[in-house]
């Protein structure tokens, strides 16, 4: 089956799951079924948005990010690259510098901040938009869950995805190149570890959508490093830190909704978050309703990555902190402009391969048979109570009708219908 081709960074713990169906109801791609009292995830449909992880009251949907003690087994040198979300998890008397230094004290040989790459990528995106001839709008490539969602559910919109490498990948690549030179070791001897706000980035590292291999080697959850970091930073004086580029500014802006798009040189951008609103916006783009827009920043998590399922802090607190961090530490990016434009021409930001469609299998490979199946599904649907109660284990009546046509369940499993 096609299902197993796709790696996912979470699974259902069948011991802990008691079939409450909360996950099934929130899943934006209808990828979850509850059969025999436990939930299961259909791999082909899952886009790793993390909604189910958040929804489960029993924590039975378990994220599979890497553990801290797994880092650095087969490598000569380890590099931590934290998501900018990490900084917003701490009280404001803990500075990003301290957080980075804290990571070193936790055992990473080096730390690199993505702020500079964020600034550069923002500038390069403005250059790209200035020269782009369509189709419009361009959709950001930052959130891997949104990129998967587009590949799976909106395959014809893949050509709208910004064909540029994301800051975390650029940072890992440049960090490896630089350290390999400085330390006279091979790039493959360096382990780059992303400190992530979400399982989607774990997947983008293990199974990138746009290239053979990610520059990152592992992803450890923010929630995993938070405890140790908190106690280290609470005992720390302010400290200097090594950066990727000489003139670095902190890039917390990319962690909250609209933070990146707001720095572009166009007014014609929108920022959208949460899978249900992302769905609406993608529908609008597909209907070509938003063709006057130039850029769409789209995040699977409500509020942007600060709402990621592997964070620890309340999103509203984190958002307020992220804004204050920006005010304190973000520098004017315009002075990098000429250098970035040159690098852009040299392909510094180019995505290795374009994002390709990964459409779902149709109901049948033969169009005539597929049409017949849709007709059957609709006839079955008409016979159902249409109350989307979920008791059958499918998320709604229409999906249940489809599951019947696919032969996965029997019509008699609709208990409401059978009761009549």
């Amino acid at each position: 089956m096609a299902h197993d081709e796709y790696y996912h960074a979470h699974e259902v713990n069948t011991e802990m799951c008691d079939g409450r169906m909360k996950c099934m109801r929130v899943c934006p791609t209808s990828a979850i079924r509850v059969r025999g009292g436990t939930a299961s995830i259909i791999g082909e449909l899952c886009v790793d948005c993390g909604e189910c992880i958040r929804a489960c009251p029993h924590r039975a949907v378990v994220p599979l990010s890497d553990r801290l003690d797994e880092v650095r087994h087969a490598y000569k040198c380890s590099v931590a690259i934290p998501s900018p979300v990490l900084y917003s998890q701490f009280p404001s008397d803990v500075t990003p510098r301290q957080v980075l230094e804290g990571l070193k004290q936790m055992g990473f040989d080096h730390v690199f901040d993505v702020g500079a790459a964020c600034d550069w990528a923002t500038l390069a995106t403005s250059v790209f938009l200035r020269e782009h001839k369509g189709p419009w709008p361009i959709i950001s490539s930052y959130c891997p869950a949104v990129v998967r969602f587009i590949q799976v559910k909106y395959p014809d919109l893949t050509e709208h995805v910004l064909p540029m490498e994301v800051p975390r990948e650029i940072t890992a690549r440049e960090a490896k190149r630089r350290l390999a030179g400085d330390l006279d070791i091979a790039e493959t001897d360096i382990e780059a570890v992303y400190i992530t706000a979400c399982p989607a980035k774990v997947v983008s590292i293990r199974q990138p959508a746009e290239k053979e291999r990610s520059w990152l080697d592992r992803a450890v959850a923010i929630s995993e490093v938070y405890g140790p970091l908190r106690s280290i930073t609470s005992k720390m004086e302010d400290v200097p830190v090594t950066h990727l580029f000489d003139e670095a500014s902190y890039g917390p802006g990319w962690s909250r909704l609209g933070g990146m798009a707001g720095l572009l040189k166009t007014d014609r951008w929108i920022a959208v978050s949460g899978m249900s609103d992302v769905t609406k916006i993608l529908d609008d783009i597909e209907n070509s309703k938003l063709r006057d827009m130039e850029f769409v920043e789209a995040n699977a998590c409500l509020g942007g990555c600060i709402g990621g399922s592997l964070t620890v802090e309340n999103i509203y607190v984190a958002r307020s902190r992220a804004i204050r961090l920006e005010q304190r530490f973000h520098q004017n990016i315009a002075r990098h402009e000429r250098r970035v434009e040159r690098l852009h021409r040299e392909g510094f930001f180019a995505m290795e391969n374009p994002v390709r469609p990964r459409p779902l299998s149709p109901l049948d490979s033969d169009i005539a048979k597929a049409i017949a199946k849709v007709k059957r599904r609709d006839a079955i649907y008409e016979s159902l109570p249409k109350i989307d109660c979920g008791a059958c284990g499918s998320p709604d009546c229409l999906t249940f009708a489809e599951d019947v046509v696919k032969g996965e369940v029997k019509l008699s499993q609709c208990v409401v219908r059978s009761a009549h």
Partner: protein, 146 residues
């Protein structure tokens, strides 16, 4: 064609004039059915754009419409029969940039006068019949093979 008839999917929907909060839903539903059937992505995109524009014209300019969607392996057809004010000068309405949208409608992001031209561009065959004071019928046909 007789062969096609047997595998024809036929669905009807209704659209209400002025109902902006549900505007676009019919085109979204049709699009998802086409995806499930497995038509080529560019074909789906053309149907989606043409249907969306025609649906919006009903929402903006007409009172109500019945939308009939038909699909066979070779032809996709969307027919919108509306009751409403109708179009007095069809040739004029078909011109790029022509619009009778009010300022209020324009503020909502409609009224660029590109709807009907885009419907024509994205369909293989387009028939429009309109009677002032009665209504307008738009028949969009897209062939599924190049």
């Amino acid at each position: 064609m007789s062969d096609d008839r047997q595998v024809m999917l036929r669905e009807t929907f209704s659209v209400t004039g002025g109902d902006f909060s549900h505007a676009g839903e019919v085109s979204t539903t049709i699009k998802s059915m086409l995806k499930q059937i497995g038509f080529p992505a560019p074909v789906i995109r053309r149907v989606a754009i043409a249907t969306y524009e025609a649906e919006m014209n009903v929402v903006v300019y007409a009172d109500r419409a019945v939308v009939t969607f038909e699909a066979t392996p070779s032809i996709i057809r969307v027919i919108l029969e509306d009751q409403g004010r109708g179009i007095a000068d069809l040739d004029l309405a078909m011109q790029e940039g022509y619009s009778t949208a009010t300022d209020e409608i324009r503020e909502m992001g409609f009224g660029a006068g590109m709807g009907l031209p885009n419907i024509r561009k994205n369909s293989d065959d387009l028939e429009i019949d309109s009677e002032v004071g009665v209504g307008t019928t738009v028949r969009i046909t897209v062939f599924t093979q190049a």
